[in-house]
């Protein structure tokens, strides 16, 4: 499982965060667009994607698997504390992964702990490695 074949947008985007002013309607906010760092693991039965999403709550997270691609999008608003000078900060996370064949997307599950997303993508039964026992004579 590799995320090299991502969309053109992702391929062309700077990997590091880009700070830019938001629309005039919320000029007090600083928007940071981030492609979250991720680890990918494989076992005999599952793939796992582990991604850093600091400040993201479950309500602000979307994971969408669509055919051969999977998108993680999330936002983490950090409001300026009351009475303080400065601006609000909004982090927007987005990353695409290409999925290998044989992933049972309907059985995927995710959990979010301390700003870290762990996504489990089970392999379809036919895509799992079957061990063949060698019998001695």
């Amino acid at each position: 499982m590799s995320d090299k074949k991502t969309t053109r947008d992702v391929a062309q985007r700077d990997k590091h965060e880009v700070r830019q002013p938001e629309s005039a309607a919320s000029s007090e906010s600083a928007v940071l667009r981030v492609e979250p760092a991720a680890n990918i693991y494989e076992t005999e039965t599952d793939f796992y994607i582990v991604a850093d999403l600091p400040g993201v709550g479950t309500d602000d997270l979307q994971v969408i698997a669509d055919g051969s691609s999977l998108a993680i999008t999330a936002k983490a608003p950090v409001a300026r504390p009351a009475g303080m000078e400065g601006e609000d900060v909004l982090r927007q996370f987005e990353r695409w992964f290409s999925l290998p064949d044989g992933v049972d997307q309907s059985a995927a599950d995710a959990r979010l702990t301390n700003g870290v997303l762990t996504l489990r993508l089970p392999k379809a039964a036919e895509a799992r490695v079957h061990r063949i026992t060698v019998k001695g004579s």
Binding site: M1, D3, E17, N39, T43
Partner: protein, 147 residues
């Protein structure tokens, strides 16, 4: 001699300045990782500062937050392990790390009133300015009349 009197040699200041320069260079080249980890936001007012520091996956019990005068230091570590034992890592962008970051605040911190809270991978800090160092408005009294 005159130089020393006007600019007393202070190794700590020299170190802080050096660290500040390294932080700026590191920010440009490392894009948020390296010398300036964790990345921080800081807001301020006359009463103190509010700081957020992003450190996903960190055990909050292993965080060490200390202040010496006006210097705030945050130390911690993150241990990354596979989600299940025996998993093979195919892509490795998140690794275990130990970090320490110090920042200089514009006032000596009232450590007794500091509040720290870790949630969703972000450390929230509230640090108060001691009453003695809060800005005071000085009323200018006019005496006599302008001619």
């Amino acid at each position: 001699m005159m130089w020393n009197e006007r600019h007393p040699l202070n190794l700590w200041d020299a170190f802080s300045e050096m660290q500040r320069v390294f932080d700026e260079v590191g920010r440009d080249f490392a894009g948020g990782l390296g010398a300036d980890y964790p990345t921080m936001n800081l807001w301020s007012n006359d009463d103190g500062v509010a700081i957020t520091a992003e450190m996903p996956g960190v055990d909050p019990k292993a965080l060490e937050i200390s202040t010496v005068g006006s210097t705030l230091t945050i130390r911690g570590k993150r241990t990354v392990s596979p989600p299940v034992e025996g998993a093979t890592c195919l892509r490795d962008e998140i690794g275990s790390l130990e970090f320490a970051r110090s920042i200089q605040l514009p006032f000596d911190v009232d450590a007794d009133s500091a509040v720290a809270d870790y949630r969703d991978g972000i450390l929230h800090l509230s640090l108060k300015r001691p009453e003695s160092s809060k800005p005071r408005r000085i009323v200018v009294s006019a005496s006599g009349g302008a001619s």
